[in-house]
């Protein structure tokens, strides 16, 4: 076969970490390749000139190579047909689909080799199998980790579930309602959490962090740091005596800092394990090196507070690892024009989520902050008082930190829907309040989502097309300036509360986990899956899987679906005792040799 290789770039920067000159010369040395041409960045291609080129070189196979070559397939197919060739012989070599930019030049070259030889890449680059241990480590116990753990444990296999926080549940436990069904999030999640806590096949490790992972696919050795919790989980009965006597306060992580918690506390009443935790950073006892306080240990009726407890390292041997570390939200202080952190009643989505949650600091009341004098410092400060005045008008601003070349270029996928949910909650709790949604494009993509969006409009929320640019304060009144694109006018809306629909970003620590496991991350920092379309839960490393929002922003149904899918992959290898080896370790010559032998048959 006489093959022509055409390299095209979709973006100025080109595929990251791939040397295109090297790919060019490699392709030119492949046996059947006649011509190799680099067409540059987003070329404007003409089928007639291309067909002349095909005729001149008497080419009967075309390979389009690049980060997204599919954009250029139609013009090449047309050119091939014009030249009298077989349009089916236009083949794609997509670097992005098979390993992304993280895998470097040899991977790109092997993708080109497979396309030139006419062999599907996943077939040629199929790693061998290896003996796999039965245990499974799951990093992160949000809804993804919980779902995967239950699926695997219910099949009778051992699961080690590691969670950084003192309770499992992740972000979903903070939510009040889920969209679009407006089910209570806790009613769905807490039974699952309890099931995890009681399951005999799940070893739950909360307040723990993965320290180090060694070994090879199918046989990983994991070192887990059990941070000193200072409370014995087994004997704690959650009587609250320690919290009542604790003199120190710190912002609550679970309430996103809108309320305070004590230094010894339980994150929320339905926490699993239902036991308290002592935060060393804010504790008076640890601040004074044990000279002062220690009152919690004295007050505890069951003597389960151990102030002398130290961090502990435990080791587990597992065959498979599931990454389910979730996400963080975008730091809204980076966008100064919205006044987050300066104006008291500008909240992020998670803060509002806690405020409107019945178990939150205001008991589910939506209130604006009140100005009050701090008795100790004699300074005025803004306080969230459950009896404070409710807002008369609320604005919800979409796409904060998302779809923006200056922040994150990607769409965070969940914000449109949770913003609509907020509008419903505002209208439900404060029927007289005016509610605005300022959006760019309404992305209601799932089952029942579009209907949900229509219902919110029917409820009387003003859904305004046009992202606002600025929140200012004029004589103590917040004013939002924006363009109402559909009715073609400028608006200045006075509002009492603004909610920023912040986008999702990769969780803190995902870089460290990626390094530890040898898994790639894409340009935005999300974990790379093995194949975007056909292997969305596997990774380049054998025995390492990915589930939930740490792969890409996802809503709850998608996260749960992926978590169950991941369990299927894990159970397959646990049941047969053999799992796939790492594809990352296949060398260019391995893949090329296999592709040649496949091409011959």
């Amino acid at each position: 076969m006489r093959t022509g290789v055409f390299i095209v770039q979709g973006w100025e920067a080109g595929p990251e970490g791939i040397n295109l000159h090297s790919v060019e010369s490699y392709a030119a040395n492949l046996p059947s390749v006649e011509t190799v041409r680099n067409l540059g960045v987003r070329p404007k291609l003409d089928p007639d000139t291309l067909s002349d080129e095909i005729k001149k070189g008497a080419l009967d196979r075309i390979v389009i190579a690049g980060d997204s070559p599919g954009f250029f397939k139609p013009v090449f197919t047309k050119a091939m047909a014009l030249a009298g060739g077989d349009p089916d012989e236009v083949r794609l070599a997509s670097f992005r689909q098979h390993g992304g930019s993280g895998m470097g030049t040899p991977r790109a070259e092997s993708v080109v080799a497979c396309a030139v030889l006419g062999v599907p890449f996943p077939l040629a680059a199929r790693p061998g199998t290896t003996a796999t241990r039965p245990g499974t480590l799951i990093i992160g116990a949000g809804v993804a980790g919980i779902q995967a753990a239950l699926e695997i444990a219910d099949a009778g296999k051992q699961v080690y579930l590691v969670e950084r926080q003192a309770t499992i549940g992740g972000h979903m436990a903070m939510f009040d309602k889920t969209f679009p069904t407006l089910d209570c999030a806790a009613c769905i999640l807490t039974p699952k959490m309890v099931a995890v806590g009681q399951h005999e096949m799940i070893e739950l490790m909360t307040y723990c962090e993965v320290e180090d992972i060694s070994g090879s696919p199918g046989n990983y050795k994991v070192r887990v740091r059990k941070k000193a919790r200072h409370v014995d989980i087994e004997s704690c009965v959650a009587c609250n005596a320690c919290t009542e006597s604790c003199p120190r306060k710190a912002p609550s992580e679970f309430d996103n800092g809108i309320a305070l918690r004590k230094s010894i506390f339980i994150p929320f009443p339905q926490a699993v394990p239902n036991a308290y935790v002592l935060d060393e950073a804010s504790c008076l006892y640890f601040e004074t090196n044990g000279e002062k306080c220690g009152v919690c240990a004295k007050k505890c009726p069951k003597q389960c507070v151990d102030l002398a407890q130290k961090d502990e390292i435990v080791e587990r041997e597992v065959g498979n690892i599931i990454m389910a570390i979730g996400y963080d939200v975008y730091d809204a202080t980076k966008i100064e024009r919205y006044g987050y952190g300066v104006l008291p009643n500008v909240l992020t989505a998670l803060e509002f989520e806690r405020m409107t949650n019945a178990s939150g600091p205001t008991g589910g009341k939506i209130v604006t902050k009140t100005r009050r004098q701090n008795k100790r410092t004699k300074e005025d400060e803004w306080v969230l008082d459950p009896d404070g005045p409710p807002p008369k008008s609320v604005a919800i601003i979409h796409c904060v930190g998302s779809r923006d070349a200056q922040h994150n270029a990607y769409c965070s996928r969940v914000c449109c829907m949770y913003s609509l949910k907020f509008a419903h909650l505002v209208k439900e709790k404060l029927p007289d309040a005016t509610c605005y949604e300022f959006y760019i494009d309404m992305r209601a993509f799932g089952k029942g989502y579009e209907e949900f969006a229509e219902r919110i409009v029917a409820e009387g929320t003003f859904v305004v097309r046009g992202r606002t640019a600025r929140i200012t304060q004029v004589d103590g009144q917040m004013v939002i300036k924006g363009e109402d694109i559909v009715s073609d006018r400028m608006i200045d809306s006075p509002v009492d509360m603004a909610i920023l629909a912040v986008g999702l970003v990769p969780a803190k620590g995902s870089e460290r986990i990626a390094q530890m496991l040898g898994v790639g991350r894409d340009a935005d920092g999300w974990f790379s899956e093995l194949d975007y379309n056909s292997d969305p839960t596997d990774t380049e490393r054998g025995g390492v899987f990915v589930a939930g929002a740490c792969q890409a922003p996802k809503d709850i149904p998608d996260t749960v679906a992926q978590a169950s899918a991941v369990a299927a992959g894990v159970l397959k290898s646990v049941n047969t005792g053999r799992g796939l080896d790492s594809r990352a370790e296949l060398s260019l010559s391995d893949i090329e040799a296999r592709a040649r032998s496949l091409a011959r048959t």
């Binding site: 046009g466 992202r467 640019a469 600025r470 363009e483 694109i485």
Partner: protein, 384 residues
Amino acid sequence: MAIRVNPKLIDELEVYGAEDVQNCYHCGNCSAVCPFSENPYIFPRRPMRNLQMGLEDKLKGSLEPWLCYYCGECSEECPRGAEPGETMMSLRRWLTAKYDFSGISRLFYRSGKIELLAVIGAALLTALGFVLWAVLRGGSIYSYDGPNAFLPAESIHIFDWVLAGVLLVLLLTNCTRMWWFTMGRDKTLNASVGLYLKKLYALPLHFITQKRYAKCEKKRPWAVHLVLMLSYLIMLVLIMFFLAGMSASTIDWRLHVFGYIATVGLLGTTIFALRGRIKKSEPLYAHSHETDWIFLILLIVVAFTGILQHILHRAGLDAAANLVYIIHLMGVVPMLALEVPFSKWSHLAYRPLGMYFSLVRADAVRRVPEEAAQPVIVTQRVVG
């Protein structure tokens, strides 16, 4: 009325400098940050939309581009890098070309080379004309002023007034066309002469103070532009009315103090702008069209040679002063004759006019009563 769409409009505007309009996804961020975007003149998003849709006629009749001062905040905060500020600038260039009846403006904006050639040609013709004229009438190159002067002030004075007259006619013609596109042909407008007179104050107000420019969050571009404009205005008055006094041997401080102030203003602001355009220090300097460079360089040459001939004359080097005078005229004539009616400098008329018209227009928009939708009646023959 049918709306004609020009699908090539967006490509056409690319030549005028708007390269990234397609990136816009209409979030309305630019309109919201703009201090001038107020009902009913909403921009830059709306003109960008019209551009994407190829609504040439609508854009031709729009006043919005003249209401923008290009502080560049919209471009800085644009989430898509669509450069709304530069799009407005390009629309001003395109409108200048549309207003000009002769087509010369269009030629200049579409090709910087043609403009450059025209400038050089005009400069050479100027030099040739003045030298020939001076030699034929027996002027001495060694004499700057007095009866035997190489270029006597009285004659130059007459030449100035003739040139000013010609330019005024050309510019007024283009202004009339601007009025027709933006106001005259719009049948929904109900603008009485009284309304035009009532709002007439806006014209000199915006021309002299440029107070709208001061509304931009950044004040420096406004200050620079105001100093440049006022310096030029002072120079113009001095040259049109006091040329003889300016080139006389004796220094009349009552006159010359203005000349010196204006010279300092001109040199300072033009060199600041040149530095900015080279370093791309501010958003409005980030994208320089070929016509911007030509205009700026002409400004600097004229200001520099203007003061140089004065210094040389004071130093007694009359021959050198006369030579520099010729070079000065080689800059002045193309700058006035080409830039004022056909290119960048024409904004001295279009911008205040745009603001004036926008005030009139806002009051004159006649509310057309919405007609009740009529059912479309299709007659059908009864069969049988």
